[in-house]
Point group: C2
Amino acid sequence: MHPILTVGSVAFDSIKTPFGEASRVVGGAATYFSIAASFFTDVRLVAVVGDDFTEEQTQVFSGRRIDLTGLQRVPGETFRWKGEYSFDFNTRDTIYTHLNVFDQFRPVLPESYRPTPFVFLANIHPTLQSEVLDQVHEPRFVAADTMNFWIEGTPDELRKVLGRVDALVINDEEARELSGEANLVKAARAIQRMGPELLIIKRGEYGVLMTRDRGFFAAPAMPLEEVSDPTGAGDTFAGGFMGYLASAGEMTDTVVTRAIIAGSALASFAVEDFGLERLLRLTPDELQDRLAEFKRLTHFEAL
Amino acid sequence: MHPILTVGSVAFDSIKTPFGEASRVVGGAATYFSIAASFFTDVRLVAVVGDDFTEEQTQVFSGRRIDLTGLQRVPGETFRWKGEYSFDFNTRDTIYTHLNVFDQFRPVLPESYRPTPFVFLANIHPTLQSEVLDQVHEPRFVAADTMNFWIEGTPDELRKVLGRVDALVINDEEARELSGEANLVKAARAIQRMGPELLIIKRGEYGVLMTRDRGFFAAPAMPLEEVSDPTGAGDTFAGGFMGYLASAGEMTDTVVTRAIIAGSALASFAVEDFGLERLLRLTPDELQDRLAEFKRLTHFEAL
Protein backbone atom coordinates (compact mmCIF):
# COMPACT_ATOMS: atom_id res chain seq x y z
CA MET A 1 0.00 0.00 0.00
CA HIS A 2 1.30 3.43 -0.99
CA PRO A 3 0.20 6.93 -0.01
CA ILE A 4 -1.20 9.44 -2.54
CA LEU A 5 -0.48 13.11 -2.77
CA THR A 6 -3.11 15.38 -4.29
CA VAL A 7 -3.21 19.08 -5.09
CA GLY A 8 -6.36 20.99 -6.01
CA SER A 9 -9.17 23.12 -4.72
CA VAL A 10 -10.80 23.04 -1.33
CA ALA A 11 -13.80 25.28 -1.72
CA PHE A 12 -17.17 26.51 -0.61
CA ASP A 13 -19.77 25.34 -3.12
CA SER A 14 -23.28 26.61 -3.65
CA ILE A 15 -25.33 24.17 -5.70
CA LYS A 16 -28.77 24.37 -7.26
CA THR A 17 -30.41 21.32 -8.81
CA PRO A 18 -33.99 20.61 -9.94
CA PHE A 19 -34.51 18.94 -6.56
CA GLY A 20 -32.97 21.37 -4.11
CA GLU A 21 -30.22 23.74 -3.12
CA ALA A 22 -27.16 23.72 -0.92
CA SER A 23 -25.41 26.90 0.07
CA ARG A 24 -21.75 27.34 1.01
CA VAL A 25 -21.01 23.68 1.68
CA VAL A 26 -17.47 22.31 1.71
CA GLY A 27 -16.46 21.08 -1.71
CA GLY A 28 -13.63 21.38 -4.23
CA ALA A 29 -11.87 18.82 -6.38
CA ALA A 30 -9.16 17.96 -3.84
CA THR A 31 -11.78 17.50 -1.14
CA TYR A 32 -13.84 14.97 -3.11
CA PHE A 33 -10.68 13.26 -4.32
CA SER A 34 -9.16 12.95 -0.84
CA ILE A 35 -12.26 11.61 0.86
CA ALA A 36 -12.79 9.04 -1.91
CA ALA A 37 -9.15 7.94 -2.03
CA SER A 38 -9.01 7.65 1.76
CA PHE A 39 -11.33 4.63 1.55
CA PHE A 40 -8.32 2.75 0.17
CA THR A 41 -5.10 4.44 1.27
CA ASP A 42 -3.39 7.36 3.01
CA VAL A 43 -3.85 10.73 1.36
CA ARG A 44 -1.65 13.81 1.57
CA LEU A 45 -3.55 16.97 0.71
CA VAL A 46 -2.03 20.13 -0.79
CA ALA A 47 -4.46 23.05 -0.99
CA VAL A 48 -5.28 26.47 0.42
CA VAL A 49 -8.22 27.86 2.37
CA GLY A 50 -8.99 31.31 3.78
CA ASP A 51 -9.46 32.27 7.39
CA ASP A 52 -13.23 31.85 6.86
CA PHE A 53 -12.69 28.07 6.69
CA THR A 54 -13.51 27.05 10.26
CA GLU A 55 -12.39 24.18 12.41
CA GLU A 56 -15.88 22.73 12.06
CA GLN A 57 -15.59 22.73 8.30
CA THR A 58 -12.23 20.96 8.54
CA GLN A 59 -14.13 18.11 10.21
CA VAL A 60 -15.04 16.67 6.78
CA PHE A 61 -11.46 15.37 6.64
CA SER A 62 -11.18 14.13 10.20
CA GLY A 63 -11.33 10.49 11.21
CA ARG A 64 -10.03 9.63 7.73
CA ARG A 65 -6.60 8.74 6.39
CA ILE A 66 -6.04 12.31 5.19
CA ASP A 67 -2.92 14.24 6.13
CA LEU A 68 -3.62 18.01 6.26
CA THR A 69 -0.02 19.15 6.80
CA GLY A 70 -0.08 20.61 3.28
CA LEU A 71 -3.34 22.49 3.71
CA GLN A 72 -2.36 26.14 3.86
CA ARG A 73 -4.57 28.55 5.77
CA VAL A 74 -4.09 32.20 4.72
CA PRO A 75 -5.89 35.49 5.35
CA GLY A 76 -8.83 36.10 3.04
CA GLU A 77 -11.78 34.20 1.70
CA THR A 78 -11.82 30.55 0.58
CA PHE A 79 -12.39 29.71 -3.10
CA ARG A 80 -16.13 29.89 -3.86
CA TRP A 81 -18.11 28.36 -6.69
CA LYS A 82 -21.79 28.32 -7.54
CA GLY A 83 -23.34 26.03 -10.13
CA GLU A 84 -26.84 25.29 -11.33
CA TYR A 85 -27.95 22.07 -13.06
CA SER A 86 -30.58 21.69 -15.78
CA PHE A 87 -33.71 19.59 -15.18
CA ASP A 88 -32.07 16.39 -16.49
CA PHE A 89 -28.57 17.14 -15.05
CA ASN A 90 -27.16 17.13 -18.57
CA THR A 91 -25.94 20.71 -18.45
CA ARG A 92 -24.44 22.78 -15.66
CA ASP A 93 -24.13 26.55 -15.61
CA THR A 94 -21.45 28.13 -13.47
CA ILE A 95 -23.09 31.10 -11.77
CA TYR A 96 -19.80 32.38 -10.36
CA THR A 97 -16.23 31.32 -9.59
CA HIS A 98 -14.42 33.42 -6.98
CA LEU A 99 -10.82 32.26 -6.76
CA ASN A 100 -10.18 34.35 -3.64
CA VAL A 101 -7.16 32.90 -1.78
CA PHE A 102 -6.65 30.42 -4.62
CA ASP A 103 -5.64 33.31 -6.89
CA GLN A 104 -2.27 33.70 -5.13
CA PHE A 105 -1.84 30.02 -4.26
CA ARG A 106 1.63 28.53 -4.73
CA PRO A 107 1.76 24.92 -3.71
CA VAL A 108 4.55 24.20 -1.24
CA LEU A 109 5.02 20.58 -0.28
CA PRO A 110 5.87 19.76 3.32
CA GLU A 111 9.11 17.80 3.44
CA SER A 112 7.18 14.72 4.58
CA TYR A 113 5.13 14.76 1.35
CA ARG A 114 8.06 14.74 -1.07
CA PRO A 115 8.63 11.01 -1.35
CA THR A 116 4.97 10.21 -2.23
CA PRO A 117 4.86 7.60 -5.04
CA PHE A 118 1.31 8.27 -6.31
CA VAL A 119 0.30 11.80 -7.29
CA PHE A 120 -2.99 13.26 -8.50
CA LEU A 121 -2.98 16.76 -9.94
CA ALA A 122 -6.60 17.92 -9.79
CA ASN A 123 -7.95 20.52 -12.18
CA ILE A 124 -5.86 23.65 -11.47
CA HIS A 125 -3.56 25.88 -13.53
CA PRO A 126 -1.09 23.60 -15.35
CA THR A 127 1.81 25.70 -14.10
CA LEU A 128 0.79 24.89 -10.52
CA GLN A 129 0.50 21.23 -11.49
CA SER A 130 4.09 21.39 -12.78
CA GLU A 131 5.29 23.13 -9.62
CA VAL A 132 3.92 20.29 -7.54
CA LEU A 133 5.63 17.68 -9.71
CA ASP A 134 8.89 19.61 -9.37
CA GLN A 135 8.70 19.10 -5.61
CA VAL A 136 7.89 15.37 -5.55
CA HIS A 137 10.88 13.00 -5.36
CA GLU A 138 10.65 10.56 -8.28
CA PRO A 139 6.92 9.88 -8.28
CA ARG A 140 6.01 6.43 -9.49
CA PHE A 141 2.61 7.17 -11.02
CA VAL A 142 1.20 10.61 -11.78
CA ALA A 143 -2.35 11.32 -12.93
CA ALA A 144 -3.88 14.68 -13.80
CA ASP A 145 -7.20 16.28 -14.58
CA THR A 146 -7.73 19.46 -16.58
CA MET A 147 -10.56 21.42 -18.20
CA ASN A 148 -11.49 23.40 -21.31
CA PHE A 149 -10.42 26.63 -19.63
CA TRP A 150 -6.77 25.45 -19.55
CA ILE A 151 -6.95 23.58 -22.89
CA GLU A 152 -7.92 26.87 -24.54
CA GLY A 153 -6.17 29.39 -22.29
CA THR A 154 -2.81 27.83 -21.40
CA PRO A 155 -2.16 25.16 -24.06
CA ASP A 156 1.65 25.35 -23.84
CA GLU A 157 1.74 25.01 -20.05
CA LEU A 158 -0.75 22.14 -20.30
CA ARG A 159 1.38 20.33 -22.89
CA LYS A 160 4.35 20.49 -20.55
CA VAL A 161 2.35 18.81 -17.79
CA LEU A 162 0.99 16.18 -20.18
CA GLY A 163 4.55 15.23 -21.04
CA ARG A 164 5.15 14.40 -17.38
CA VAL A 165 2.02 12.44 -16.41
CA ASP A 166 1.24 8.74 -16.70
CA ALA A 167 -2.52 9.14 -16.79
CA LEU A 168 -5.00 11.83 -17.75
CA VAL A 169 -8.54 11.73 -16.35
CA ILE A 170 -10.87 14.01 -18.30
CA ASN A 171 -14.41 14.03 -19.69
CA ASP A 172 -15.37 13.26 -23.28
CA GLU A 173 -15.89 16.89 -24.25
CA GLU A 174 -12.43 17.77 -22.94
CA ALA A 175 -10.89 14.80 -24.77
CA ARG A 176 -12.42 16.00 -28.02
CA GLU A 177 -11.28 19.58 -27.49
CA LEU A 178 -7.76 18.65 -26.40
CA SER A 179 -7.24 16.34 -29.38
CA GLY A 180 -9.30 18.12 -32.03
CA GLU A 181 -10.86 14.73 -32.86
CA ALA A 182 -14.63 14.12 -32.67
CA ASN A 183 -14.14 10.33 -32.60
CA LEU A 184 -13.16 9.21 -29.08
CA VAL A 185 -10.86 6.40 -30.25
CA LYS A 186 -8.88 8.83 -32.39
CA ALA A 187 -9.02 11.42 -29.61
CA ALA A 188 -7.59 8.90 -27.15
CA ARG A 189 -4.71 7.91 -29.43
CA ALA A 190 -3.90 11.57 -30.12
CA ILE A 191 -3.81 12.40 -26.41
CA GLN A 192 -1.62 9.38 -25.66
CA ARG A 193 0.88 10.80 -28.14
CA MET A 194 1.03 13.96 -25.97
CA GLY A 195 2.41 11.96 -23.07
CA PRO A 196 -0.08 10.10 -20.86
CA GLU A 197 0.11 6.40 -21.57
CA LEU A 198 -3.23 5.92 -19.87
CA LEU A 199 -6.27 7.98 -20.79
CA ILE A 200 -9.46 7.74 -18.78
CA ILE A 201 -12.49 9.41 -20.31
CA LYS A 202 -15.36 10.20 -17.96
CA ARG A 203 -18.77 10.10 -19.61
CA GLY A 204 -21.01 11.03 -16.68
CA GLU A 205 -24.17 8.90 -16.57
CA TYR A 206 -22.67 6.68 -19.29
CA GLY A 207 -19.65 5.64 -17.29
CA VAL A 208 -15.96 5.51 -18.13
CA LEU A 209 -13.75 4.49 -21.04
CA MET A 210 -10.07 3.62 -20.41
CA THR A 211 -7.33 3.01 -22.97
CA ARG A 212 -5.36 -0.21 -22.96
CA ASP A 213 -2.49 -1.72 -24.88
CA ARG A 214 -5.02 -3.13 -27.29
CA GLY A 215 -8.42 -1.51 -27.30
CA PHE A 216 -10.32 -0.17 -24.33
CA PHE A 217 -11.95 -1.03 -21.05
CA ALA A 218 -15.48 0.33 -20.64
CA ALA A 219 -17.39 0.56 -17.37
CA PRO A 220 -20.98 1.78 -17.25
CA ALA A 221 -22.23 4.07 -14.52
CA MET A 222 -24.58 2.46 -12.02
CA PRO A 223 -28.17 3.34 -13.02
CA LEU A 224 -29.57 5.26 -10.05
CA GLU A 225 -33.17 6.03 -9.19
CA GLU A 226 -32.29 9.17 -7.30
CA VAL A 227 -29.58 11.55 -8.45
CA SER A 228 -29.43 14.53 -6.13
CA ASP A 229 -26.27 16.34 -7.15
CA PRO A 230 -23.52 15.38 -9.63
CA THR A 231 -21.05 17.90 -8.16
CA GLY A 232 -17.73 16.23 -7.43
CA ALA A 233 -18.58 12.93 -9.11
CA GLY A 234 -15.60 13.13 -11.45
CA ASP A 235 -13.14 13.93 -8.65
CA THR A 236 -14.67 11.22 -6.50
CA PHE A 237 -14.16 8.78 -9.36
CA ALA A 238 -10.52 9.86 -9.66
CA GLY A 239 -10.07 9.45 -5.91
CA GLY A 240 -11.46 5.93 -5.90
CA PHE A 241 -9.43 5.02 -8.97
CA MET A 242 -6.11 6.36 -7.66
CA GLY A 243 -6.80 5.18 -4.11
CA TYR A 244 -7.37 1.64 -5.30
CA LEU A 245 -4.26 1.71 -7.52
CA ALA A 246 -2.08 3.01 -4.71
CA SER A 247 -3.44 0.45 -2.28
CA ALA A 248 -2.77 -2.40 -4.71
CA GLY A 249 0.69 -1.07 -5.48
CA GLU A 250 1.02 -2.83 -8.84
CA MET A 251 -0.27 -1.77 -12.24
CA THR A 252 -1.50 -5.00 -13.79
CA ASP A 253 -4.55 -5.08 -16.05
CA THR A 254 -6.51 -6.73 -13.26
CA VAL A 255 -5.64 -3.94 -10.82
CA VAL A 256 -6.27 -1.07 -13.24
CA THR A 257 -9.68 -2.35 -14.35
CA ARG A 258 -10.68 -2.96 -10.75
CA ALA A 259 -9.54 0.57 -9.92
CA ILE A 260 -11.93 1.90 -12.58
CA ILE A 261 -14.77 0.02 -10.89
CA ALA A 262 -13.69 1.29 -7.44
CA GLY A 263 -13.84 4.86 -8.77
CA SER A 264 -17.18 4.24 -10.47
CA ALA A 265 -18.67 2.81 -7.28
CA LEU A 266 -17.57 5.77 -5.17
CA ALA A 267 -18.86 8.23 -7.78
CA SER A 268 -22.22 6.45 -7.79
CA PHE A 269 -22.55 7.24 -4.09
CA ALA A 270 -21.34 10.83 -4.44
CA VAL A 271 -24.30 11.85 -6.60
CA GLU A 272 -26.94 10.39 -4.27
CA ASP A 273 -27.00 13.41 -1.97
CA PHE A 274 -25.92 17.06 -1.99
CA GLY A 275 -22.26 17.94 -1.85
CA LEU A 276 -20.18 15.56 0.26
CA GLU A 277 -23.09 14.29 2.34
CA ARG A 278 -23.36 10.77 0.96
CA LEU A 279 -19.60 10.19 0.92
CA LEU A 280 -19.29 11.38 4.50
CA ARG A 281 -21.75 8.76 5.74
CA LEU A 282 -20.61 5.98 3.39
CA THR A 283 -19.56 2.78 5.17
CA PRO A 284 -17.03 0.21 3.90
CA ASP A 285 -19.83 -2.40 3.84
CA GLU A 286 -22.00 -0.24 1.59
CA LEU A 287 -19.03 0.27 -0.70
CA GLN A 288 -18.37 -3.46 -0.83
CA ASP A 289 -22.02 -4.14 -1.70
CA ARG A 290 -21.92 -1.68 -4.55
CA LEU A 291 -18.71 -3.15 -5.93
CA ALA A 292 -20.58 -6.47 -6.11
CA GLU A 293 -23.50 -4.71 -7.82
CA PHE A 294 -21.11 -3.42 -10.48
CA LYS A 295 -20.01 -6.97 -11.21
CA ARG A 296 -23.62 -8.00 -11.57
CA LEU A 297 -24.40 -4.93 -13.71
CA THR A 298 -21.79 -5.80 -16.32
CA HIS A 299 -21.05 -9.52 -16.13
CA PHE A 300 -21.98 -11.91 -18.92
CA GLU A 301 -20.69 -15.36 -19.80
CA ALA A 302 -18.48 -15.38 -22.88
CA LEU A 303 -20.25 -16.33 -26.11
CA MET B 1 -33.46 -23.28 -32.07
CA HIS B 2 -36.64 -21.43 -32.98
CA PRO B 3 -37.54 -19.27 -35.97
CA ILE B 4 -38.35 -15.56 -35.66
CA LEU B 5 -41.05 -13.62 -37.43
CA THR B 6 -40.56 -9.92 -38.03
CA VAL B 7 -42.72 -7.21 -39.52
CA GLY B 8 -41.47 -3.77 -40.52
CA SER B 9 -40.17 -1.64 -43.32
CA VAL B 10 -38.12 -2.70 -46.31
CA ALA B 11 -37.08 0.58 -47.87
CA PHE B 12 -34.85 2.58 -50.14
CA ASP B 13 -32.63 4.78 -47.99
CA SER B 14 -30.65 7.82 -48.98
CA ILE B 15 -28.04 8.70 -46.40
CA LYS B 16 -25.73 11.65 -45.96
CA THR B 17 -23.00 11.64 -43.32
CA PRO B 18 -19.97 13.89 -42.72
CA PHE B 19 -17.93 11.28 -44.58
CA GLY B 20 -20.02 10.46 -47.61
CA GLU B 21 -23.36 9.74 -49.20
CA ALA B 22 -25.35 6.73 -50.33
CA SER B 23 -28.36 7.07 -52.56
CA ARG B 24 -31.35 4.73 -52.82
CA VAL B 25 -29.73 1.76 -51.13
CA VAL B 26 -31.77 -1.08 -49.67
CA GLY B 27 -32.58 -0.43 -46.03
CA GLY B 28 -35.52 -0.43 -43.64
CA ALA B 29 -35.91 -1.73 -40.10
CA ALA B 30 -37.08 -5.22 -41.10
CA THR B 31 -34.16 -5.55 -43.52
CA TYR B 32 -31.49 -4.78 -40.91
CA PHE B 33 -33.29 -6.89 -38.34
CA SER B 34 -33.63 -9.92 -40.63
CA ILE B 35 -30.06 -9.93 -41.84
CA ALA B 36 -28.73 -9.58 -38.28
CA ALA B 37 -31.04 -12.24 -36.83
CA SER B 38 -30.21 -14.64 -39.65
CA PHE B 39 -26.69 -15.01 -38.24
CA PHE B 40 -28.32 -17.03 -35.46
CA THR B 41 -31.62 -18.49 -36.63
CA ASP B 42 -34.31 -18.71 -39.35
CA VAL B 43 -36.18 -15.49 -40.04
CA ARG B 44 -39.64 -15.01 -41.52
CA LEU B 45 -40.08 -11.57 -43.02
CA VAL B 46 -43.39 -9.71 -43.31
CA ALA B 47 -43.15 -6.47 -45.31
CA VAL B 48 -44.14 -4.77 -48.55
CA VAL B 49 -42.17 -3.40 -51.48
CA GLY B 50 -43.22 -1.68 -54.72
CA ASP B 51 -42.65 -2.91 -58.23
CA ASP B 52 -39.54 -0.74 -58.34
CA PHE B 53 -37.85 -3.19 -55.95
CA THR B 54 -35.89 -5.36 -58.36
CA GLU B 55 -34.71 -8.93 -58.24
CA GLU B 56 -31.18 -7.63 -57.83
CA GLN B 57 -32.17 -5.64 -54.77
CA THR B 58 -33.80 -8.73 -53.29
CA GLN B 59 -30.33 -10.31 -53.36
CA VAL B 60 -29.49 -8.71 -50.01
CA PHE B 61 -31.65 -11.42 -48.43
CA SER B 62 -30.45 -14.35 -50.51
CA GLY B 63 -28.07 -17.01 -49.28
CA ARG B 64 -29.31 -16.28 -45.75
CA ARG B 65 -31.82 -17.99 -43.50
CA ILE B 66 -34.54 -15.50 -44.45
CA ASP B 67 -37.95 -16.65 -45.67
CA LEU B 68 -39.49 -14.08 -48.03
CA THR B 69 -42.91 -15.75 -48.41
CA GLY B 70 -44.41 -12.87 -46.44
CA LEU B 71 -42.75 -10.13 -48.50
CA GLN B 72 -45.58 -8.60 -50.52
CA ARG B 73 -44.80 -6.97 -53.86
CA VAL B 74 -47.47 -4.48 -54.98
CA PRO B 75 -47.76 -1.86 -57.74
CA GLY B 76 -46.23 1.47 -56.81
CA GLU B 77 -43.04 2.78 -55.26
CA THR B 78 -41.17 1.29 -52.33
CA PHE B 79 -40.99 3.18 -49.01
CA ARG B 80 -38.27 5.85 -49.26
CA TRP B 81 -36.41 7.67 -46.53
CA LYS B 82 -33.60 10.20 -46.57
CA GLY B 83 -31.58 11.19 -43.53
CA GLU B 84 -28.61 13.41 -42.84
CA TYR B 85 -26.24 13.12 -39.85
CA SER B 86 -24.48 15.93 -38.01
CA PHE B 87 -20.67 16.11 -37.91
CA ASP B 88 -20.43 14.02 -34.72
CA PHE B 89 -23.36 11.66 -35.58
CA ASN B 90 -25.18 12.85 -32.49
CA THR B 91 -28.16 14.23 -34.38
CA ARG B 92 -29.98 13.02 -37.47
CA ASP B 93 -32.35 15.07 -39.59
CA THR B 94 -34.96 13.27 -41.65
CA ILE B 95 -35.00 15.01 -45.04
CA TYR B 96 -38.06 13.09 -46.23
CA THR B 97 -40.16 10.01 -45.52
CA HIS B 98 -42.26 8.77 -48.44
CA LEU B 99 -44.44 5.91 -47.21
CA ASN B 100 -45.50 5.00 -50.78
CA VAL B 101 -46.72 1.37 -50.83
CA PHE B 102 -46.30 1.23 -47.05
CA ASP B 103 -49.19 3.68 -46.68
CA GLN B 104 -51.77 1.00 -47.60
CA PHE B 105 -49.84 -1.93 -46.13
CA ARG B 106 -51.87 -4.51 -44.21
CA PRO B 107 -49.72 -7.34 -42.96
CA VAL B 108 -51.05 -10.75 -43.96
CA LEU B 109 -49.18 -13.72 -42.54
CA PRO B 110 -48.65 -16.72 -44.78
CA GLU B 111 -50.11 -19.80 -43.10
CA SER B 112 -46.60 -21.20 -42.66
CA TYR B 113 -45.62 -18.18 -40.51
CA ARG B 114 -48.46 -18.46 -38.01
CA PRO B 115 -46.84 -20.84 -35.51
CA THR B 116 -43.66 -18.75 -35.11
CA PRO B 117 -42.65 -18.65 -31.41
CA PHE B 118 -40.45 -15.52 -31.49
CA VAL B 119 -41.84 -12.27 -32.92
CA PHE B 120 -40.29 -8.86 -33.44
CA LEU B 121 -42.56 -5.95 -34.29
CA ALA B 122 -40.29 -3.31 -35.81
CA ASN B 123 -41.17 0.37 -35.65
CA ILE B 124 -44.47 0.66 -37.58
CA HIS B 125 -47.98 1.86 -36.73
CA PRO B 126 -49.04 0.14 -33.50
CA THR B 127 -52.29 -0.98 -35.10
CA LEU B 128 -50.30 -2.92 -37.70
CA GLN B 129 -48.19 -4.37 -34.89
CA SER B 130 -51.41 -5.58 -33.22
CA GLU B 131 -52.72 -7.02 -36.50
CA VAL B 132 -49.60 -9.12 -36.82
CA LEU B 133 -49.91 -10.40 -33.28
CA ASP B 134 -53.56 -11.32 -33.98
CA GLN B 135 -52.35 -13.65 -36.70
CA VAL B 136 -49.57 -15.44 -34.81
CA HIS B 137 -50.58 -18.63 -32.99
CA GLU B 138 -49.60 -18.31 -29.34
CA PRO B 139 -46.24 -16.60 -29.70
CA ARG B 140 -43.81 -17.46 -26.94
CA PHE B 141 -41.82 -14.22 -26.84
CA VAL B 142 -42.80 -10.94 -28.48
CA ALA B 143 -40.60 -7.85 -28.69
CA ALA B 144 -41.44 -4.49 -30.21
CA ASP B 145 -39.85 -1.20 -31.18
CA THR B 146 -41.64 2.14 -31.50
CA MET B 147 -40.81 5.82 -31.88
CA ASN B 148 -41.81 9.30 -30.71
CA PHE B 149 -44.18 9.66 -33.68
CA TRP B 150 -46.39 6.85 -32.33
CA ILE B 151 -45.86 7.74 -28.66
CA GLU B 152 -47.30 11.19 -29.40
CA GLY B 153 -49.65 10.41 -32.28
CA THR B 154 -51.27 7.08 -31.40
CA PRO B 155 -50.83 6.63 -27.64
CA ASP B 156 -53.94 4.45 -27.17
CA GLU B 157 -53.05 2.05 -29.97
CA LEU B 158 -49.49 1.89 -28.65
CA ARG B 159 -50.67 1.10 -25.12
CA LYS B 160 -52.68 -1.84 -26.49
CA VAL B 161 -49.58 -3.28 -28.12
CA LEU B 162 -47.48 -2.71 -25.00
CA GLY B 163 -49.97 -4.81 -23.05
CA ARG B 164 -49.24 -7.72 -25.39
CA VAL B 165 -45.43 -7.67 -25.65
CA ASP B 166 -42.76 -9.27 -23.48
CA ALA B 167 -40.00 -6.86 -24.41
CA LEU B 168 -39.73 -3.30 -25.67
CA VAL B 169 -36.55 -2.16 -27.45
CA ILE B 170 -36.39 1.65 -27.65
CA ASN B 171 -33.86 4.43 -27.28
CA ASP B 172 -33.37 6.56 -24.18
CA GLU B 173 -35.21 9.57 -25.57
CA GLU B 174 -38.21 7.41 -26.42
CA ALA B 175 -38.13 5.80 -22.97
CA ARG B 176 -38.23 9.23 -21.36
CA GLU B 177 -41.07 10.42 -23.59
CA LEU B 178 -43.14 7.26 -23.20
CA SER B 179 -42.84 7.28 -19.41
CA GLY B 180 -42.74 11.00 -18.73
CA GLU B 181 -39.75 10.35 -16.46
CA ALA B 182 -36.34 12.00 -17.03
CA ASN B 183 -34.59 9.43 -14.82
CA LEU B 184 -34.03 6.20 -16.78
CA VAL B 185 -34.51 3.90 -13.79
CA LYS B 186 -37.89 5.44 -13.07
CA ALA B 187 -38.68 5.49 -16.79
CA ALA B 188 -37.92 1.77 -17.03
CA ARG B 189 -40.10 0.86 -14.07
CA ALA B 190 -42.98 2.97 -15.45
CA ILE B 191 -42.76 1.30 -18.85
CA GLN B 192 -42.65 -2.15 -17.28
CA ARG B 193 -45.97 -1.32 -15.61
CA MET B 194 -47.42 -0.75 -19.11
CA GLY B 195 -46.81 -4.39 -20.02
CA PRO B 196 -43.33 -5.33 -21.21
CA GLU B 197 -41.52 -7.26 -18.50
CA LEU B 198 -38.23 -6.62 -20.26
CA LEU B 199 -37.14 -3.13 -21.32
CA ILE B 200 -34.06 -2.62 -23.43
CA ILE B 201 -32.89 0.95 -23.76
CA LYS B 202 -30.57 1.71 -26.67
CA ARG B 203 -28.11 4.53 -25.98
CA GLY B 204 -26.26 4.67 -29.29
CA GLU B 205 -22.52 5.12 -28.83
CA TYR B 206 -23.00 4.51 -25.09
CA GLY B 207 -24.44 1.03 -25.48
CA VAL B 208 -27.48 -0.65 -23.98
CA LEU B 209 -29.26 -0.85 -20.64
CA MET B 210 -31.57 -3.80 -19.90
CA THR B 211 -33.94 -4.25 -16.96
CA ARG B 212 -33.68 -7.30 -14.74
CA ASP B 213 -35.52 -8.73 -11.73
CA ARG B 214 -33.17 -6.78 -9.55
CA GLY B 215 -31.37 -3.88 -11.16
CA PHE B 216 -30.01 -3.70 -14.68
CA PHE B 217 -27.56 -5.15 -17.13
CA ALA B 218 -25.43 -2.58 -18.95
CA ALA B 219 -23.39 -3.24 -22.07
CA PRO B 220 -21.16 -0.54 -23.57
CA ALA B 221 -20.92 -0.02 -27.29
CA MET B 222 -17.62 -1.09 -28.86
CA PRO B 223 -15.44 2.03 -29.28
CA LEU B 224 -14.82 2.30 -33.02
CA GLU B 225 -12.21 4.28 -34.85
CA GLU B 226 -14.31 4.60 -37.99
CA VAL B 227 -18.05 5.14 -37.87
CA SER B 228 -19.40 5.52 -41.38
CA ASP B 229 -23.15 5.38 -40.98
CA PRO B 230 -25.29 4.68 -37.90
CA THR B 231 -28.40 3.94 -40.00
CA GLY B 232 -29.98 0.65 -38.98
CA ALA B 233 -27.76 0.13 -35.92
CA GLY B 234 -30.74 -0.12 -33.57
CA ASP B 235 -32.58 -2.62 -35.76
CA THR B 236 -29.38 -4.61 -36.24
CA PHE B 237 -28.99 -4.71 -32.46
CA ALA B 238 -32.58 -5.97 -32.11
CA GLY B 239 -31.94 -8.60 -34.78
CA GLY B 240 -28.84 -9.92 -33.08
CA PHE B 241 -30.56 -9.87 -29.69
CA MET B 242 -33.71 -11.67 -30.83
CA GLY B 243 -31.79 -14.02 -33.12
CA TYR B 244 -29.57 -15.13 -30.28
CA LEU B 245 -32.54 -15.58 -27.92
CA ALA B 246 -34.44 -17.64 -30.46
CA SER B 247 -31.42 -19.78 -31.23
CA ALA B 248 -30.82 -20.47 -27.53
CA GLY B 249 -34.48 -21.20 -26.97
CA GLU B 250 -34.45 -20.52 -23.23
CA MET B 251 -34.71 -17.22 -21.38
CA THR B 252 -32.21 -17.58 -18.54
CA ASP B 253 -30.20 -14.61 -17.31
CA THR B 254 -27.11 -16.08 -19.00
CA VAL B 255 -28.90 -16.27 -22.35
CA VAL B 256 -30.52 -12.85 -22.19
CA THR B 257 -27.30 -11.05 -21.25
CA ARG B 258 -25.41 -12.90 -23.98
CA ALA B 259 -28.15 -11.90 -26.42
CA ILE B 260 -27.53 -8.25 -25.53
CA ILE B 261 -23.85 -8.74 -26.40
CA ALA B 262 -24.74 -10.53 -29.65
CA GLY B 263 -26.91 -7.58 -30.65
CA SER B 264 -24.23 -5.09 -29.61
CA ALA B 265 -21.59 -6.91 -31.64
CA LEU B 266 -23.71 -6.97 -34.79
CA ALA B 267 -24.61 -3.29 -34.36
CA SER B 268 -20.91 -2.45 -34.02
CA PHE B 269 -20.35 -3.89 -37.49
CA ALA B 270 -23.43 -2.24 -39.02
CA VAL B 271 -22.06 1.27 -38.45
CA GLU B 272 -18.66 0.57 -40.02
CA ASP B 273 -19.86 1.11 -43.59
CA PHE B 274 -22.79 2.68 -45.41
CA GLY B 275 -26.20 1.05 -45.29
CA LEU B 276 -26.08 -2.75 -45.20
CA GLU B 277 -22.60 -3.05 -46.74
CA ARG B 278 -20.69 -4.19 -43.67
CA LEU B 279 -23.35 -6.65 -42.55
CA LEU B 280 -23.55 -8.15 -46.04
CA ARG B 281 -19.86 -9.03 -46.02
CA LEU B 282 -19.66 -9.99 -42.35
CA THR B 283 -18.35 -13.50 -41.72
CA PRO B 284 -19.17 -15.74 -38.74
CA ASP B 285 -15.47 -15.70 -37.79
CA GLU B 286 -15.41 -11.90 -37.66
CA LEU B 287 -18.54 -11.96 -35.51
CA GLN B 288 -16.98 -14.50 -33.16
CA ASP B 289 -13.86 -12.36 -32.81
CA ARG B 290 -15.90 -9.31 -31.92
CA LEU B 291 -17.91 -11.22 -29.34
CA ALA B 292 -14.58 -12.04 -27.69
CA GLU B 293 -13.58 -8.37 -27.92
CA PHE B 294 -16.75 -7.43 -26.05
CA LYS B 295 -15.78 -9.75 -23.22
CA ARG B 296 -12.38 -8.12 -23.07
CA LEU B 297 -13.93 -4.63 -23.25
CA THR B 298 -16.06 -5.15 -20.16
CA HIS B 299 -14.49 -7.86 -18.04
CA PHE B 300 -12.96 -7.19 -14.66
CA GLU B 301 -12.23 -9.47 -11.73
CA ALA B 302 -14.60 -8.99 -8.81
CA LEU B 303 -13.28 -6.73 -6.06
